[in-house]
């Protein structure tokens, strides 16, 4: 188990290092004059040149990269070019906000989608099953900004039940903040729902068809007990892995949602950084998302390993 874990972590580190190279190359492709972007159209050329020299954007790329990597390893992501603040500080705040939104979405979607998947499996090939499957598929493939607009129109504008922006006023309590986050969470919930429900359904069907289920049923155990003790336990394993791998795509969805709902999360920060050619901020944001994704998948693999001995044995093969 330890060997498996170490190998998995090692691979994750390699991936992250490669990501840092890719991001560095990507962000340095950004065209244009960084100094001009920051100082704006009405600055003199001298002040622009001065700023470019100070930012070091005129040095060789390799020097800049090594500099950057050294900083990353010591927890220093540099300063945001457009906000003149440490990137870590800005990311910290934004991540906190995004985490709130993502958590709420997860808390809403996990029970709902697992329930949906379980019901679909138990009512396999009925109208109920097909409705859940088709609804789930449709919900998953409709972009967040499309469903986001629909929920804003219905709940914020027509019914006026909930606020149409995500940012609660400063100093709001937990429940007030949740109230502001419900609408933005819905598009994320919809996108995740179909995917998780589908995996749950497939896992349930496998488990229902498995020998141990048949044996347990033949032993005369009540159906309810069979499902709870044998089917669910085995069926939820792949679901856990899926939930963890969806963390990455969740952060992708956050970009559109945070813009639509004017929420200061990490997706919006990355979007702003891309627009302002704020290289340190952009690179930091993308790296952090990479770290979160890797951490989530390592965690998923571990959980899967703990819950399923077969994986542990096969891990070193």
């Amino acid at each position: 188990m330890l060997r498996f874990l170490l190998r998995r972590l090692g691979l994750a580190m390699v991936s992250l290092w490669l990501l840092s190279v890719l991001v560095f190359i990507g962000t340095n492709l950004l065209p244009g004059d960084v100094g001009r972007r920051i100082l704006g159209p009405f600055a003199t050329q001298e002040s622009v040149d001065l700023l470019n020299a100070r930012l070091g954007t005129d040095r060789p790329l390799l020097t800049q990269y090594l500099d950057y990597l050294g900083g990353v390893l010591t927890g220093d992501l540099g300063d945001s070019v457009s906000f003149a603040r440490p990137v870590t500080e800005m990311l910290g705040t934004a991540l906190g906000n995004s985490t709130k939104l993502a958590l709420l979405a997860f808390v809403m979607v996990v029970p709902l989608s697992i329930l949906g998947g379980v019901i679909a499996a138990l009512k396999r090939d009925t109208v109920i099953d097909r409705s859940i499957t088709v609804f789930g598929l449709s919900a998953t493939v409709i972009p967040e900004f499309v469903s986001g607009i629909v929920v804003i129109v219905i709940f914020a504008i027509s019914l006026r039940w909930l606020p149409g922006g995500a940012q609660a006023p400063a100093g709001s309590g937990v429940f007030e903040q949740i109230r502001y986050l419900i609408l933005p969470a819905i598009p994320l919930v919809l996108v995740l729902f179909g995917y998780i429900a589908r995996i749950t359904r497939a896992g349930m069907i496998d488990a229902l068809d498995a020998d141990y289920t048949r044996t347990a049923t033949l032993k005369g155990l009540p159906r309810r007990t069979v499902i709870r003790r044998h089917v669910m336990r085995n069926a939820l394993l792949p679901t856990i892995a899926v939930v963890a791998t969806q963390v990455g795509s969740l952060f992708g969805g956050l970009v559109a949602v945070e813009i639509l709902f004017n929420y200061q999360g990490v997706g919006r920060l990355i979007f702003d950084a891309a627009q302002k050619a704020d290289f340190p901020l952009l690179a930091g944001g993308v790296l952090v998302i990479g770290v979160i994704y890797q951490a989530a998948t390592v965690l998923a693999d571990m959980l899967y390993g703990v819950l399923n001995p077969r994986v542990r044995l096969g891990a070193d093969a």
Binding site: G26, T140, E144, V146, I152, I157, A256, A274, V286
Partner: protein, 282 residues
């Protein structure tokens, strides 16, 4: 080859019996028809005229069935014409990704070893950033053009498709016909593209249809985020991004209709993709 032929006709008949396939296919086909012939059926010129602006944001009426947009252009006309943009961009991007990904998957799966190990790591690094963020990163560099959108989506799809093709290639490479070909003295190129490729077409077709759905999703999301390129070209994502502000003032028509169009197209394409995937899986 004969066995493959039999299974193909079986699959087709299965497809014909799938209700969701027919629903999805007819929605998709409708939009394809509009994408091709849209110009002939739009009630007004989608590009509008300079004085249209005097009648901006007019609600739906008998004159403008879906109202007018912020430049006074006919929403229905732009909606019909807008199918073309996404139905050029998304399939083009998916094709690029599929061709490149297939080649990459065949090479890594067939050779294995360190080539495989290195590319797997790079792919893993690539895949740990959400598609839309990668696309934003690259488009910020290339500038928001239609060609840029096609290239970036194709680029991002390449490793994803490569991963699927690689897995199938790995298992095919162990089979007897590959060994036989090698003993015959065939080169790796011949083995990969002539021997193995036809036998991994199933997963590739499934990947293509599934990715097509994602490509539509991503294309529209990017144009919503302002990376769509020329704003005068009718585009559903851009229509929404330019008009969602007006929702709060009950001006819902320039936003809701494109949103419904997007929803119908992505659902349609994905129903087809899902039906195809199920047939290949069973």
């Amino acid at each position: 080859m004969t066995t493959a032929g039999v299974s193909r006709s079986q699959r087709l008949s299965q497809l014909r019996g799938s209700a969701t396939f027919w629903v999805g296919a007819s929605i998709t086909l409708t939009w394809i028809v509009f994408a091709i012939f849209g110009d002939f059926v739009t009630p007004y010129d989608p590009a509008g005229t300079p004085t249209d602006i005097l009648d901006r944001l007019a609600p739906p009426s008998s004159e403008h069935l879906m109202g007018t947009d912020s430049l006074g252009r006919d929403v229905l006309s732009r909606l019909l014409a807008g199918a073309r943009q996404v139905l050029i961009v998304a399939p083009a991007a998916t094709s690029i990704g599929t061709v490149a990904g297939t080649a990459m998957g065949l090479v890594t799966g067939y050779f294995g070893g360190w080539i495989d190990e290195i590319t797997s790591r790079i792919l893993d690094a690539f895949l740990s950033i959400p598609l839309i963020i990668t696309a934003m990163l690259v488009l910020a560099a290339l500038g928001p053009t239609t060609v840029g959108v096609i290239l970036v989506i194709g680029l991002v799809f390449t490793p994803i498709i490569a991963r699927t093709v690689r897995a199938s290639t790995l298992s095919e490479a162990r089979l007897d016909y590959v060994t036989a070909a090698r003993l015959r003295g065939e080169g790796p190129i011949h083995i990969m593209f002539i021997e193995i490729l036809p036998n991994v077409m199933g997963p590739i077709v499934v990947e293509f249809t599934v990715r097509l759905g994602y490509a539509i999703f991503t294309t529209l999301a990017l144009s919503f985020l302002g990376f769509g390129g020329d704003p005068s070209i009718p585009d559903w994502g851009q229509s929404i991004s330019n008009h969602y502000v007006f929702l709060s003032g009950d001006v819902w028509w320039p936003t809701l209709f494109p949103a419904l169009a997007i929803a119908s197209l992505v659902v349609g394409v994905n129903l087809v993709a899902d039906a195809i995937a199920q047939i290949f899986e069973t």
